[in-house]
Symmetry: C2
Subunit: 372 residues, 2 copies
């Protein structure tokens, strides 16, 4: 935490839920897609423990939707997505890397097929609208690219299903992972998906009208009381434990999805072309030079790292840690690192420089496994 | 100010100068182009007063450079820029709106002609790299689009010239507004422009190597002591007094440069085409439906507004305030508003809703003029 407050402005947008988030014990913010995102409430550690045992309501309005609508919407979605969306069906979401021509990642959204002529990319932190609009313009595609008034609200944690069933009826529990459907609420049809940026299960409600935000929050909160609901947010500890990568932290334009271990989301053997496919096919052929790995950093408890921490093997730089935090449940410092491929092997020991001090770190595959 | 601290991460990048900024009395941050930007030090008001009387050092690394390099660099720069860059010459900067096809603004950078085959866009807060890269890719242009390791450091205020002359020699004082040249410093060639986001005069140093950041800051600080130099940042009060528009606050994709009063930066009568030109020509022909104006908000001192404040005429909504703040020097609440064109007339009185209360506001042209 920097300790310095955020200066609010129109440029760094509030969300439809901001007043409730700030009243619910918020302790720090980050900014994501030009919008405020909670980063912690009680503390990272207590937030994490509560998420694992109960249910939380997360304002993830920052997951902006880039809407492609029109006769060429699917064509553009297919061209942009490493995952083959040519057969995507309405009612399903598809996690997909988006690459530039050299394979470098520009974003890793969930692509939602809303209708035959309408796709949404529920984006990570980069202006995907500009990439999509630039392509559409130059290719002369018949597609409108826009950011609709849609603000996702996530309900996450083991008790999420109980809360949603009470509000929206048992039908919501039939949703499969990454599927979405529409549910009645106060005369509106709310789009709800079984998804969310945690490994604790839950749902995301794609609120389609900002003016309804406070009412929606309040209705969920009212039901949530009986389930020990708290306000929360994507949790640094929980997401690292679960091996969830964060665009901008663990992945960037410098990294391909293969280097990020996202092979299974890249349709390299599909007949459809996408931007970056050629580069990824070459990389698959020639092999990786660097790749992401989990690692356990020895020594005393670390603070969350805020910048890259360089890694060494035999005194030679071999990459860097991209995210790291102390996990109370594992009683270990867990991290993610982008390392030279020849170093990446379970159990390998490397050196990591954190805050000017060298520590040993042991490489391990993800998700992390608790100590025996 | 939200009062909530920023949670630092790799995704919200620190700059080469961050340690010095934080040690120099920082009181709040904002985030701009995925990077930390100071928003205030002592207070907005005291920062403003000091900026007008002395000299400040501003970490504006957030002004990222989008580099176009290659045989088609100029072609792409011309296509993207509302201002005709076809005859842009090395050593000069050109403020230019960048539009999408419907004329909506995507950014308002300073375009810097670095060499015949190299342009930089020194950008406002949106991922222009993705727009440029999308266009270049789809048009099959022979141009590389990248973000070089360049971190602008601004020296602003009436004493800026004295400080720079002492460090870089008198030649720096010969720079014309928006011109740049290269000056020796510790064996490096530093690119320096006479520019900056204030009306107090000054320079921007385009540091080309992050690892030199602290040394550069320290060298300037050492000389600055004799001139009452302080750390500062773009100041909300000073920029509104001067009528400087902020992309994301006062301008967005919903607004054309003509609506934002930027006509003189749009080369509508040039023979060269640019994206959005057709829409702007039509708008010039048919007239504006909304446009930006200055306004003076009556009543007691306001806090800086953080979201749009709706405006009314005879009970009908006629637009909204985009930025507003109390100016101690003017002893007035000054604001910018995007209003229906039929309302925009010097001296017209409208109603503005701020924090749930209605106030009168008087429209006025910009820059604001002090009370008689």
């Amino acid at each position: 935490m920097s300790g310095f407050p955020v200066f609010a402005s129109r440029r760094v947008r509030a969300t439809p839920f901001t007043p409730r988030v700030e009243a619910a014990g918020l302790s720090s913010y980050t900014v994501y897609n030009h919008m405020l995102l909670a980063a912690s409430f009680t503390s990272l550690e207590e937030d994490c423990a509560h998420l694992k045992r109960a249910v939380q309501i997360w304002d993830v309005s920052v997951e902006r939707q880039v809407q492609l609508k029109g006769p060429d919407a699917r064509k553009l979605a297919v061209l942009m997505s490493a995952r083959d969306l040519s057969k995507a069906v309405p009612g399903k979401g598809y996690y997909t890397p988006i690459c530039q021509a050299d394979g470098g990642m520009l974003n890793d959204p969930i692509a939602l097929c809303i209708a035959e002529d309408t796709f949404w990319f529920s984006i990570a932190d980069s202006d995907m609208l500009l990439w999509a609009a630039g392509l559409a313009h130059a290719y002369g595609m018949d597609v409108e690219v826009s950011e609709p008034d849609v603000s996702p609200l996530a309900i996450q944690g083991p008790l999420a299903e109980k809360v949603l069933a009470e509000i929206f009826g048992d039908a919501v529990t039939a949703l499969k992972f990454f599927a979405f459907d529409y549910f009645d609420w106060r005369g509106h049809k709310l789009m709800i998906a079984r998804s969310g940026w945690s490994k604790q299960g839950g749902f995301e409600i794609y609120l389609h009208d900002s003016t309804l935000g406070l009412q929606l929050w309040d209705d969920i909160w009212e039901v949530g009381r009986a389930y020990d609901m708290r306000a929360g947010c994507p949790n640094l500890i929980e997401r690292i434990e679960g091996g969830l990568l964060s665009y901008g932290n663990d992945m960037s334009r410098e990294d391909t999805p293969l280097e990020c271990g996202l092979d299974k989301f890249c349709s390299l053997d599909s007949e459809n072309d996408f931007i970056g496919k050629k580069a990824l096919l070459t990389q698959r052929e020639t092999g990786l030079r660097k790749q992401i790995t989990g690692l356990i950093i020895e020594g005393e408890k670390i603070a969350p790292i805020t910048k890259i921490a360089p890694c060494f093997q035999g005194g030679q730089n071999c990459g860097f840690v991209t995210s790291a935090v102390f996990s109370p449940d594992f009683d270990l410092n867990l991290g993610l690192a982008m390392l030279a491929s020849e170093q990446v092997e379970d159990g390998r020991i490397i050196d990591v420089e954190i805050d000017g001090k060298m520590r040993n770190a042991r490489l391990t595959s993800m998700p992390f496994k608790p100590k025996a």
